[in-house]
């Protein structure tokens, strides 16, 4: 299989090309239709009323006042909400989260939906929600990592092991020549894609159409089917474009389901869009962590032991534990490695997947600890990382399917000018006297594969179609997957009808885990290969064809023709093959799934190295990232322009992680006190330095038929740690928490 894929790609015209986004003009002209842009006939507007307490009960809602407001059509509360076929508190698997759908008067976190007002206008619904004037029986909020004795969870992340180890860490530490113990803290971050969660829901009897941003059309369809007792076939979910997802739109959130319930209640189409402040609660966040690392080395600087423990928080009513220690299972070589997690329950919404869940938070702590250990050994931070380079996955012992991390270090360091780094901290200055620091961080994100299906067709006019319910959340799926599809069929992109973004197309799985291009692309590859096999069958079995006798494996497709491998001068167009066979078209379906044999045999990860330069005002503590160079190896690169953009986006989130993002909860009330984009800081353009992403070549014959690894999340990892390490190098002050703010550097 891999051979054919590589063959096709080599002869193909699309894969590997830095094409601009096919949907770019639609987006910059405003013609791209996002969920909230839909306005079906008879549309009503729904506004969610949210709780202002974090824990307790709603004792009264002034429903009469809200209903009495002109334009208000209905007020949906627990008393009159449509009955659901599935308990919103049911949990059958780690990918299923409990939703707040007005099932009780209990309040479990601030900004929990407690009612929905539906009105003829957005303004009337907004005012109606205000008039509800809820009263509460308040119980004290439980907030923070010290709120109770931590417990070890059954699983972390999406069903990952809470604990994994190899060797005897205590013995490794005991025998170590040098050892450190260090604690890092990361702040909570809340999902804030530019497009808030939005839904337009329309019922037609027992049929349901929803327009809503989704990173998982099939899962959304199935959850709606379960909640409303519908045949999935009667549900159409449309999501052609997302204004960012980052994990928050992988699974349906409660407010999205409330929009469907509201439409059912009033028997008219309903639009529900969260306000910005309502994003801080019901749609997921990256929980805070406190990570304790213990490292030991021998006299040469080789690690003898690495222990990484994460304390984090989940909600009072559901389980999602930030798997921040997991990174230490994959990255640095040590004879003894131990990773574990513990958690407390707090009165916040349930944490959720957020771009590089686990790896992002874990990387800041691990890269900081590695830097501290390097210094304790008197070694250059990059040399120390090379010294402890893992030739096999540390805990599992499996070889890597591919790992061009050495090349990443080398190319990144050369481009950055790492050799100009002064060894001692606080010893480099710019011409104005500002402190300058260099830092490095290793980037890693697992190369996952999920399941997907796709359909492909070639028609007698030589054009083709590839269809699957894939997801473009800004990463460029409309373009990258179409490139794979065009090469898969051996036609030009202009001849391809690429259909995507709807649940009535073959299920393309979810756009998550940086695995969408790999997974959906593999399904496309499977479907297009099957179509070409049919064409080849028609041609090579027909003595009138110039390809007669070449055999299925003896031909390949390019430019709308099948050609002989051993003689590219002999070939025949798709149109001619189909015409002679009297066929209007050939079509096939294809599937992708992880290859369990190769996944058992090999560890699969994307790798990278990020180098950061910061400038710090020695008196005022102001920090500015002045340069970032990332070098990443992620298997085959389908579209270098889009991939570079993904790396940039990840690295900018790394800047945000290191220096800005911080949801500030008042520990007394449990409310987020900066629930707006004025005060919940992400970097502005002026905070984004000169960024460079180097695409390091890597060939992976094991990961999937196309050799594609993920690029969506890895950019955050490594970057935040590199910046933190650069701040230390600049100032000599080791700040063991993020975000690093100027007050921590005043000395």
């Amino acid at each position: 299989m891999p051979d054919i894929a590589y063959e096709q790609a080599r002869h193909g015209s699309s894969i590997g090309q830095p094409l601009t986004r096919r949907d770019g003009i639609l987006k910059v002209t405003g013609a791209a239709t996002y969920a909230a842009d839909n306005r079906p006939e008879g549309l009503l507007h729904a506004v969610v009323a949210v709780s202002r307490i974090a824990r307790g009960r709603v004792t009264h809602l002034d429903v009469a006042a809200a209903k009495g407001h002109p334009g208000v059509v209905a007020v949906m509360t627990g008393a009159n909400a449509p009955k659901l076929a599935q308990d919103p508190d049911a949990k059958d698997n780690p990918f299923m989260f409990r939703l707040d759908l007005l099932q009780s008067d209990q309040v479990r976190y601030a900004h929990q939906p407690i009612a929905v007002v539906i009105a003829e206008t957005l303004e009337a619904a907004t005012e109606g929600a205000e008039l509800l004037a809820p009263r509460y029986a308040v119980e004290p909020a439980r907030i923070g990592l010290d709120v109770e004795a931590p417990q070890e969870p059954d699983a972390v992340g999406a069903g990952d092991k809470a604990r994994a180890s190899r060797g005897d860490v205590e013995a490794g530490l005991a025998e170590a020549e040098r050892r450190i113990e260090t604690v890092y803290e990361t702040a909570a971050q809340y999902h804030n894609a530019l497009e808030p969660h939005a839904i337009v829901a329309q019922w037609d009897g027992d049929r349901l159409i929803v327009d809503t941003p989704s990173q998982g059309l099939g899962m959304a369809q199935m959850r709606l089917a379960a909640l409303f007792g519908l045949d999935p076939k009667n549900i159409l979910v449309r999501s052609p474009f997302l204004g960012g997802g980052f994990g928050s739109k992988g699974l349906l959130s409660g407010p999205q389901v409330l929009g469907v319930m509201a439409a059912k209640l009033v028997g008219r189409p309903v639009k529900l869009v969260l306000r910005r402040e309502q994003m801080f609660g019901p749609v997921g966040h990256r929980a805070e962590t406190r990570q304790t690392l213990r490292l030991g080395t021998d006299a040469s600087g080789a690690l003898t032991a690495l222990d990484h423990h994460t304390l984090t928080a989940t909600s009072s009513f559901d389980d999602f534990y930030e798997p921040a220690s997991a990174l230490s299972r994959y990255l640095y070589a040590a004879p003894a490695v131990s990773t574990g997690h513990s958690g407390v329950r707090v009165d916040t919404g349930t944490p959720l997947f957020m771009r590089a869940p686990g790896e992002a938070s874990g990387s800041v702590a691990l890269e900081g600890a590695i830097d501290e250990m390097a210094e304790a050994c008197g070694l250059d931070p990059l040399d120390f990382r090379l010294k402890n380079y893992a030739e096999a996955e540390p805990i599992s012992g499996r070889p890597f399917s591919s790992k061009a991390l050495r090349e990443c270090y080398a190319q990144g360091a050369a481009r950055f000018g790492w050799d100009k780094r002064a060894k001692a901290p606080r010893s480099m200055r710019d011409s104005a006297g500002r402190l300058v620091g260099y830092g490095v961080g290793t980037a890693l994100f697992p190369a996952l594969m999920m399941q997907a299906e796709a359909r492909a067709e070639i028609r007698a006019d030589g054009t083709g179609t590839v269809a699957l319910g894939a997801h473009d959340m800004g990463q460029g799926a409309w373009t990258a997957l179409a490139q794979i599809a065009a090469d898969g069929l051996g036609i030009d992109l202009a001849q391809l009808d690429f259909q995507s973004g709807r649940s009535d197309l073959p299920n393309a799985g979810i756009a998550g885990g940086s695995a969408h291009t790999a997974t959906a692309g593999s399904a496309i590859h499977s479907a297009t290969s099957a179509v070409l096999a049919q064409l080849a069958e028609l041609a090579t079995g027909d003595e009138r064809s110039p390809l007669y006798g070449a055999g299925n494996a003896g031909v390949f497709a390019r430019g709308g023709r099948l050609l002989r491998r051993d003689d590219e001068g002999r070939g025949e167009s798709f149109a001619d093959i189909l015409a002679r066979a009297g066929r209007a078209s050939v079509s096939a379906e294809g599937k992708a799934a992880p290859d369990s044999a190769s996944r058992e045999a090999y560890a699969m990860h994307s790798h990278g190295a990020v180098f950061a330069e910061v400038s710090v005002d020695p008196d005022l503590g102001q920090i500015r990232v002045t340069r970032l160079v990332g070098a990443f190896a992620a298997g085959r690169i389908v579209n270098p322009r889009l991939v570079t953009s993904q790396y940039y986006g990840g690295m900018i989130w790394g800047v945000s992680f290191a220096l800005h993002e911080n949801a500030v909860l008042d520990p007394r009330s449990g409310r987020v006190m900066n629930a707006n984009l004025g005060e919940y800081h992400v970097p502005v353009n002026a905070d984004v330095p000169a960024i460079e992403a180097i695409l390091v070549e890597e060939y992976d014959p094991h990961v999937n038929p196309l050799g594609i690894k993920g690029v969506g999340e890895i950019g955050i990892t490594g970057t935040a740690g590199a910046i933190a390490n650069a701040v230390y190098h600049a100032t000599g002050i080791r700040v063991r928490k993020t975000p690093i703010t100027l007050d921590l550097l005043l000395g």
Partner: protein, 350 residues
């Protein structure tokens, strides 16, 4: 949002009459007021739209020196007025360090003076706030206080005034020209904003119905043009309120400081004129020693209102830096990153 009357005034007299009743508020660009109304933080019963009043959008050079700036002059128009920016470069720098380009294009001069604090407890209707609801208490006390006041605060309120613009203006002795039912009056900007005391709900000295019509820079303000800076410490490079800011203006005479003006932002519920520091600087030789002494004098009364002691030391250092840069001379061109510590390549120390 409550129901409210909307009145579009045709003249200042009409506006003042329309706004005399309790619960009325003037509406200019609305960049702060409308957000407050949407959040249920303020509930005016009447909005008096002054945006169409004639003559209040002018920047005038006064015959005897000084400038008059109309209440409706947009922040960006003022910052990019070449004559004004040349005379008061620190004011232009402060303007360009505030908010975002979009907001500066809309926000007015008077609106900037009248903007409310950014204390998160003021913006959270579920929190107790004496400013919103006199006598309710102050949930900021004991809460998230990293950015709260270190000067002039009281048990009743520890919020800060968020303006950048007001900081150099108060340093330059700007005067607020006010129209009211009883006629016109003027108030020094330094006396315009009130410290919280036991009535934090009263933020300015404006009487009900009174309206800012213009602001005057006095004759001698432009004499500081050659040595004026505004510096703003913030948590990101743009679109962030000041953690602490400072404006320094010097007149250098024969190697000595003839006159000094110094004001701080982000430290109190009003733009904070540091007069004690000015006394220290007057007649002194410019340099680290006198600048440090001035900084100490400016912060002598400072005390943390919570988890913000760092702001006192930061303000000290910022004063030294701002004086150093002012003494070195106003840059010929507006820095690419206005008011930033990374604004230019000049040396950090004298």
């Amino acid at each position: 949002m409550n129901r409210f009357d909307y009145v579009r005034a045709g003249s200042v007299a009409e506006a003042v009459a329309a706004a005399a009743e309790p619960g009325a508020a003037y509406l200019a660009a609305g960049t702060n007021l409308l957000d407050l109304m949407k959040g249920g933080i303020t509930r005016p019963t009447r909005l008096v739209d002054v945006t169409h009043l004639p003559g209040l959008d002018r920047i005038e050079s006064l015959p005897g020196g000084g400038h008059r700036v109309g209440a409706l002059v947009r922040n960006s128009d003022l910052a990019y007025d070449a004559g004004f920016a040349r005379a008061y470069p620190a004011v232009a720098e402060a303007l360009l360090s505030g908010a975002s380009a979009q907001l500066r294009n809309a926000a007015t001069l008077a609106g900037n003076l009248m903007q409310r604090t950014r204390c998160p407890y003021f913006y959270d209707p579920a929190s107790a706030c004496n400013k919103r609801d006199p006598g309710a208490g102050c949930d900021a006390r004991g809460g998230e206080t990293r950015l709260h006041a270190v000067l002039g605060w009281s048990e009743h309120c520890i919020a800060t005034h968020p303006s950048d613009l007001c900081v150099p203006l108060v340093a330059l002795d700007a005067v607020v020209e006010i129209a009211g039912k009883a006629g016109s009056r003027e108030v020094a900007l330094d006396a315009f904003h009130r410290l919280p005391g036991d009535a934090p709900e009263r933020e300015t000295v404006l009487e009900p119905g009174e309206m800012i019509v213009s602001l005057r820079l006095p004759e001698d303000a432009a004499a500081f043009a050659g040595h004026s800076r505004y510096l703003k410490i913030r948590d990101r490079t743009s679109y962030a309120f000041a953690v602490v800011s400072a404006s320094a203006a010097l007149r250098l005479e024969g190697g000595r400081i003839g006159a000094a003006r110094l004001a701080l932002g982000g430290v109190a519920l009003k733009p904070w004129r540091a007069r004690a520091a000015e006394v220290v600087l007057a007649g002194a030789e410019p340099g680290e020693a006198s600048f440090r002494a001035a900084a100490d004098a400016a912060l002598a009364e400072a005390r943390p209102s919570g988890d913000n002691a760092f702001k006192i030391e930061l303000a000290r250092r910022l004063i030294v830096r701002t004086l150093t840069l002012a003494a070195a001379g106003t840059p010929e061109r507006m820095p690419a990153l206005p008011a930033s510590a990374f604004a230019d390549g000049s040396a950090l120390h004298a």
